[in-house]
């Protein structure tokens, strides 16, 4: 058994694709129309054959309640690893990405949290 896909819930798949590719720098891997929604995944260009991130539509209403509660508490839905968090923070901030937590070090890890504009807080980590 292995983990091949993980997901973030997004309020709008087109907006999400724009943010996750144009701002974060991921690349689109799969896009299959499925009626109202689509099967839409992105990958890191550094690891295109590894785990895919599904930009998951919120067709299930209670998901919105869960997403909002996490967002209001500032809790990240998921986290991505970066090699140099200061560099990444500066790059994203320049692109207009809003951070609720600037790079903060805890023991061997440094983290920062930003708003993905699709309803989520996302954490970046340098270990």
């Amino acid at each position: 058994m292995k983990i091949k896909i993980t997901s973030v819930m997004v309020d709008d798949q087109d907006k999400a694709l724009k943010f996750y590719t144009e701002k974060l720098g991921f690349v689109k891997k799969t896009e299959v129309p499925m009626g109202e929604y689509k099967w839409l995944t992105v990958v890191s260009p550094e690891a295109p054959d590894e785990v895919e991130l599904l930009l998951e539509p919120m067709g299930f209403a209670p998901a919105k309640v869960f997403q909002k509660a996490l967002f209001d508490a500032g809790i990240p839905l998921t986290a991505f690893n970066v090699d140099d968090i200061q560099k990444e923070f500066a790059r994203l901030e320049k692109l207009g990405v809003a951070f609720s937590m600037k790079p903060t070090t805890m023991g061997p890890a440094t983290i920062a949290v930003f708003n993905d504009t699709c309803g989520n807080n996302i954490q970046i980590v340098q270990v």
Partner: protein
């Protein structure tokens, strides 16, 4: 300040109050990340971090959950996995990632991944050739189990 930030700062205060120690440990860890292909011993690492060997080992393990040697092996195996995506000979890759002997490389690689390096390399080749069909299976399964209300079903178009 959000709830998350408050919790984060509390954990930091409770468990990682000695930031200055970790800064030194990170120096040694980066040495492994950047120079994994060279021969790196404990003396070099402890010296880079400015700790005695014993103290260094203890703090390192507390920070990363692995001894420096275990982490070095981990980095080398991970790099080897990337190189094994190519068709470069296993003996060359073994040397690229910093192992002196191919038998210790093969042994450690098998222990970590469950495959010998050459078996892993063959498997990667095969997987790449079938990968094109895989997304179809995932989303069929995924949407079916999530029970999303999909209008205008077009499963016919994507049936394998």
């Amino acid at each position: 300040m959000t709830y998350y930030q408050q919790q984060f700062l509390k954990i930091k205060e409770d468990h990682f109050s000695k930031d200055y120690l970790y800064t030194r440990i990170i120096r040694a860890k980066l040495l492994i990340d950047n120079f994994y292909y060279k021969s790196i011993d404990l003396d070099t690492l402890a010296e880079a971090a400015n700790f005695s060997k014993f103290h260094f080992m203890r703090i390192y393990k507390k920070a990363y959950g692995k001894t420096p040697h275990q982490y070095l092996i981990h980095v080398r195996i991970e790099k080897a996995k990337l190189f094994l995506q190519s068709s470069a000979p296993v003996s060359t890759i073994c040397f690229w990632v910093g192992f002196d002997s191919s038998s210790s490389f093969t042994g450690l690689f098998k222990k970590t991944t469950g495959f010998t390096p050459s078996a892993f390399q063959n498997r990667q080749k095969k997987q790449k050739s079938v990968a094109a069909n895989m997304p179809i299976r995932w989303f069929l399964w995924y949407f079916a189990t999530k029970g999303l209300n999909i209008k205008n079903r077009n499963f016919e178009e994507v049936t394998i």
